[in-house]
Each structure stands twice: as structure tokens, then as C-alpha cells.
Amino acid sequence: MSKDQTIGEALRARGVSRRGFLKFCAATASMMALPPSMVPVIAAALEKASRPSVIWMSFQECTGCTESLTRSHSPTVEGLIFDTISLDYHHTLQAASGAAAEAAREAAMEENWGKYILVVDGSIPVGDPGYSTIAGISNMDMLLETAAGAAAIVSVGSCAAFGGIPHADPNPTGALSVRDLLQQYGDRKPDTHSAVYTAHSTDVDVKNKPIINVPGCPPIPVVITGVLAHFLTFGTIPELDELGRPMAYYGKSIHDRCYRRPYYDKGLFAETFDDEGAKKGWCLYKLGCKGPTTYNACATTKWNEGTSFPIEAGHPCLGCSEPDFWDGGGFYKAISTSTEDISRTAVYAIGAGAAAGVALGALNRAKKTRAVKAHQKVGIDDLEKDG
């Protein structure tokens, strides 16, 4: 595939219809909570965007993120958009190895300095760098060097975003997330570095590189294509929450968007995995569901092309897109259990809420009645102001 091809041309060459493409743009716009009038803007921008160079680095990870993002049962537009980026370096997917692979990375950096997107999956061992090295270069050096020329960094998966499983207690490798590493070691010059880095080393500011965290173990594929689409359309990174996650996808908790939420509200819970409640599809809160404290798009976007998501399959949410989810104290332990009789508490709460509502309602009604009483007839002589 030619590097000069635009995304529009590349998609067309792969047999994606204009209609399919616009559907993707509309879905992206609605997922990112953009107004419908932005759809043509997204379409126009993507159409014309030249394929961005992407360098993908895998550190302490299990390749699950790459699996998630590359797996699709039939070619979807998301998949193809992903294919149409110029993926210039990716350990798992590239054919080259050893010195040739590193040469490809350096060539991509040289050609696109300041413009390429760096995607990272996996955390970085800082305590003992020996746990993970590539071509004899420590993960930290490779990240510091490659981050220097990136336009933006996308930390894919909970390991890159928050440290993930390698960072779990007792964290034997001294693993750090990309954001933490760049914060703590951003001033450091990498011990081993290439000629490309040396040539540009005067304008390096990795501490302030924009970082988009796309956590999840693994994250939902459409989230990363959505972020890429946003970057290509607006040239900026999307609005992020305090953990660096795009608000459009991580703005709401699983709980708030869960189809089992009505059972929670009614106090109907599955107590074990094979009781009547579980069979009836009641709330999995007491079985340790972390939905209330987990922010992700699973409940709306779902997995495997919108087929299902863990709670729909009857398993509580593990909270994999939250920091340190591995150390949360047991996946099957409820976040908290009430010591009081929950239904009596609910009755009191409803009573108090209703009383407040009635009081406010009465105030409002009184105000409205006053307004109605104060009504002065409007006739044709009252339509203009004096003077």
C-alpha cells in the first residue's frame, strides 16, 4: 500500500463503500458525543488525511491488546481504518526482526519526526530493566527515545496506562505506566539511543507529550479507532478525564449504563452464580461486580462486534479499566455490603426524598398559583411598551 494514499483512497481500494464509511463516521460522532453536523467534517477530514505513521511498542504485556485490536470476524470499517494507518513498527505484526526491525523504527522516526503517533502497550520495568529488553535496548530507553519525536502517545491497555498486572503488588519488576515513567524520568537522556534521537535531541520535551490512556484488559477496539479518528479530524486529542482517558468512552460508569441496573435499583441481586437471581439476570453487585466504580464503554459498545459484554454473559465486571484493578481485593468480593437492612434504608431514603419532593413541589405550585393570580389580561393595547 502506497504511503501517499489518503485514508479515503485506502478504504475504497479495500472495497469499503462510501455508505459504510459514513456510517462509521456517524457512529464515531455519536460515540464521541459530537453533534450530527460534525459527521461530514469527520468524513471530509478522514477522507483527505494521509495515512499517519504509527509506531507501536510492546513492553511488559501479554499481546492481548494487539489481539483485541486486530481481531475481527469480518473486516469492519474500524478494522480497516486500523489497517490503513501506516503501521511502521510493531513487534508482533512485523515481518522484520533484529537490526532490520530497529532500522525500520528509526527510519519511521526520521521521516515523521514530530508527527507520528506512538502506541504503547505494556508497562515498563524500571526497578530491574533486565526483565524486558528489545534488541538489547531497555524498555525505558526505547520509550524515552521514541516518545521524543511523537506527536502524541496512546497508552493502550491497562498495563501501559496504569501499570496493569506487572505493576500489581509486590511489583517485582518495578513496573511503571507510560505516564508515570515520562513524569518521573522524562528529563533523562536514554543511555542507548539512535542517530535520529541525537540529531533532534535539542528539541526534546517528553514530559509534556500529550498522552491518551486507553485502559482495559484489553480495551475495546473501537475506542482506539475513535481516538485515531478524532486525532485525524481535529488534529487534537479528545477531551480526557483526570486519568487521561477520553471522556467520550470513559465518561460514564459501567453501572450507569448497565442493562441490569433496574435490578440494582429494585434491590434484586444474584447471591450465587447458580441461584434463581442469577438465572433471572439480576444485578451481580453482591458477586463482586465493579461496575459502579469502573468507567468504560463496555455496557454500550459491547464486545465482539456488539455481541455481548461480561455482565451480559453473567459475570461481574472486574474493573479492568481502572488503576490497580488487580489489587482490588478479590474479583468476587462485593465493593461494599450494607450492614443495615437494605430495604428499610431504601424505604427511609425514598420517604425522605418524597417528602423533599413534595415540599419543593408545593413551593413551586404556590409560586405558579401566585403567577396565575397575578395575571393581568393582555389586550391589543398591551402589546407595546410605552414611549
Partner: protein, 419 residues
């Protein structure tokens, strides 16, 4: 007494009811209503997003009727609505909205935005922020009996002309008739052929009908400007005349908002049920067709399409009837894209046509109709609203489009079977 900001705010407070409160609290600010509004799509101006036109009303709701709004108001955290603000909103609420109801159709949470615009106009009028043109029309409607200043002698003259043309007597003030026909000033002044057309059809079909000399005006400026008392007074005139003549039905003519006023708002305005039924002329004609009392001969060879007047189709539910009727006389009928309940407004309803200030804007938004017409390229455009008709003719001429605008009733009368 004169209009004042305080009276406007009081009217807002009075108008805010449970649906309004529910609508404002449910709005998710998705902006879908923008793309449903031709004043937004044809100008690209974000202030013309339908829900934004309600901003002052929303603020009054929030400050007066919500907990946090009261709190914010008490501590000076939210600004009260000002006269300057209402002045700015005047062009949004009156010039840039025909109350066509398309925004209410697309709202994903079911907010009836049009319902709220109607209510907001009550406060706008009470605060002295109604457009001059509409104030003039309203004054004429109350004092003379018609927004265009048409008096009884003018109607009588048109009736005489029609009688001469068709050779039939047109019944006036006939007690005990089944139907009492209302007319819009525009029909009387611009399209008097309508009267003759109805007379011909009714004569053939054996309909017992009359026109009242005391209440013949169908339009209701009180609703357009947003003053319920005036609207009620205008409806009451019709109710009184219908009761006096003891008619069983009142016919709303080819006029969009007249139908909405007399059929839907009327009983609520006067506060009691009517002693008669209200039908739209197209409903009656379609009934006559079903009963075999309306027969036509010959077909139009030209390509026809139908412009659904918003208040008759979308807000009135009279969608099938015009199509059944056109089917009788058309060989080549095509539907425009979005026809039926999602049809685009002509751009001149809801009082916009009485507001000279909005003239340029209404011609600008006509581009939407132009695009719809370009998609099907008809020879003639049939409609059932005189106000649409005048504006459509103007828009077509302005854009050099060679399309004839026809009244459905008049076209049917031309094809009336001799026997």
C-alpha cells in the same frame, strides 16, 4: 397599561407547567433539533437551534422552579433574564420559527419544543417583544375582524363574483345548516376562486352549508403572537356564530394554523367543549369521496406533487386524505423527499408571513423547499394552505422556478364530474 419585562417574566412563570419542566429537565443537549429546523439548516446559524430559542424561558424555569436554580439565583450566581436579552431573542422566537413542529418530531427524549415556543411567545408578547407586523395583524384581527383588514362588504363582493362565475347561490347565514364554512383573509383577498370551488363541490354532493356574516375569519393572530386572551376571543366569535346558526360542523378552510387554532387549541382556549364538530375541508372532501358523493372526471397530465402544510399534516394528522383526493385527478403524482409528517415547512407559517422584518429570511430558507422540489421536478405543486401558497409562489418566482402552485380544493372543483 403597557407591556413590561415584569409582565413577561410573570407570563413565563405562569406558562411553565409540568410538561415544560419535564422537557427542560430531559433535554440532553444533543442538538438533533438543529438539523430538523430549516432556519438552522439554511443559515447554519447555531443560535437558531430550536431548543436554544427557548433559553430565556429555560432560565426562568431553572431560577424559579428548581432547587439549584433558586440557590444560584439567591446567591447571584445566575443572571436574571433582561429586557435586552428578550429583545435579542425576539428574532429567534418569531422570525426564525414557524412553529412547524419538525423539531418536536426528532427529539430523542420526546420534548415538544414547538409547544414550548408557543408558550414562550406568551411572555414575549406580554413583555413587548412581539414583532411590529404581528402586533398590527393582531390589532386588525380584534378590531376589524381580520388580520388583513378584510371587512364583511369585501366578502360579500367576492361572494357575488363567485355566484356570477359559477351560476349558483352561495348560502349566507342559513340557520340549521350542517356545515359552516370559515375562510382565511388570504382566500377572500388573494384566492377568491376557493369560495366558488367549494360551492360547486358542495352543490354536486348535496352538502347543506353556509357562511356566517358574523364570523367568517378562520385565522387566529392571537395564537401566532402568543396572547391566549386574544386567541380565545377570536375563537369565541366563531363559537358564538356557529351556535347562533345551530350548525353541526364547522369547516376549517385551506389554512394551516387556522385548523390548529380552531380544532386543537380552541376548546382549551374558551374553556369548554364545542357544540359542533370541526373538520378540515380535506377531511370532508375525502369523506364525500368515500361516500361516492364526490366524483371527478379527467386527469391532470402534468406531474404533480403535494406540499404538506405543517399544521394540517404534521400537527393535524390530515395526511392520507389529500393523497386519496389527488389520486382521483393525477396521472403522474410524485412524493417529495421527506413528504408527509416530516415535510419541510414553506418557511412562512406561525406568523412569519405577517412579520415584514422576516421577509428576507423566509425567502432564504425557501432553499430547503427548492431542494425538495429539485429532487422530483414537478410541473405543479398542490397544497392546502393559502399562506403556504402565497409564500411558495413568491419563493418559486424569486428563484426562477417554473412550477404552478395549485389549491387542492380548487383543482378538484375543476375536475368535478358534470354528472
Amino acid at each position: 397599561m403597557s407591556a413590561s419585562l415584569q409582565r413577561g417574566i410573570d407570563a413565563f412563570k405562569e406558562q411553565i407547567d409540568a410538561p415544560v419542566a419535564a422537557f427542560f429537565s430531559s433535554c440532553v443537549r444533543c442538538g438533533l433539533c438543529a438539523d430538523a429546523c430549516l432556519f438552522y439548516t439554511e443559515t447554519g446559524c447555531p443560535t437558531r437551534t430550536p431548543i436554544h430559542k427557548l433559553e430565556p424561558l429555560r432560565r426562568v424555569w431553572q431560577q424559579e422552579y428548581t432547587f439549584w436554580g433558586r440557590y444560584a439565583k439567591a446567591f447571584g450566581l445566575s443572571k436574571p433574564v433582561t429586557d435586552e436579552e428578550l429583545e435579542k431573542w425576539e428574532t429567534l422566537v418569531y422570525d426564525s420559527c414557524t412553529m412547524c413542529g419538525r423539531c418536536s418530531m426528532v427529539c430523542p427524549v420526546g420534548n415538544d419544543i414547538t409547544y414550548m415556543i408557543r408558550k414562550m411567545r406568551e411572555g414575549m408578547a406580554a413583555s413587548g417583544h412581539a414583532p411590529e407586523g404581528l402586533i398590527g395583524a393582531t390589532k386588525r384581527a380584534v378590531t376589524i375582524g381580520s388580520p388583513m383588514g378584510v371587512k364583511l362588504p369585501a366578502l360579500q363582493a367576492q361572494i357575488r363574483h363567485a355566484e356570477k362565475d359559477i351560476g349558483l347561490e352561495i348560502p349566507v347565514d342559513v340557520e340549521g345548516a350542517d356545515y359552516m364554512l370559515l375562510l382565511s383573509s388570504m382566500e377572500i383577498m388573494n384566492f377568491p376562486e376557493f369560495i366558488g370551488a367549494v360551492a360547486k363541490i358542495f352543490n354536486k354532493a348535496g352538502v347543506s352549508w353556509t357562511i356566517s356574516s358574523e364570523a367568517f375569519e378562520a385565522t387566529n393572530s392571537g395564537i401566532q403572537i402568543g396572547v391566549s386572551e386574544i386567541a380565545a376571543e377570536l375563537v369565541q366569535r366563531i363559537v358564538d356564530a356557529a351556535d347562533k346558526l345551530k350548525v353541526k360542523n364547522v369547516i376549517s378552510p385551506e389554512c394551516g394554523h387556522a385548523y390548529m387554532a380552531i380544532r386543537w387549541e380552541g376548546p382549551n382556549l374558551v374553556g369548554k367543549p364545542y357544540n359542533f364538530k370541526v373538520v378540515h375541508i380535506l377531511e370532508l372532501l375525502d369523506d364525500l369521496r368515500k361516500q361516492g358523493r364526490l366524483k371527478t372526471t379527467g386527469k391532470e397530465s402534468q406531474r404533480l406533487t403535494y406540499h404538506d402544510p405543517c399544521q394540517i399534516s404534521r400537527r393535524g394528522g390530515v395526511v392520507e386524505q389529500p393523497r386519496n383526493l389527488i389520486d382521483m385527478i393525477a396521472d403522474d403524482f410524485v412524493e417529495m423527499p421527506d413528504s408527509g409528517t416530516m415535510n419541510w415547512c414553506c418557511g412562512a407559517g406561525g406568523g412569519v408571513s405577517s412579520n415584514e422584518r422576516a421577509d428576507d429570511l423566509r425567502l432564504k430558507v425557501f432553499r430547503r423547499k427548492q431542494a425538495q422540489l429539485d429532487a422530483v421536478k414537478p410541473d405543479a405543486l398542490v397544497s392546502a394552505c393559502s399562506n403556504c401558497r402565497i409564500h411558495l409562489e413568491e419563493g418559486l418566482e424569486e428563484n426562477g422556478m417554473d412550477i404552478t402552485v395549485l389549491s387542492l380544493t380548487e383543482t378538484l372543483a375543476e375536475h368535478l364530474a358534470e354528472d
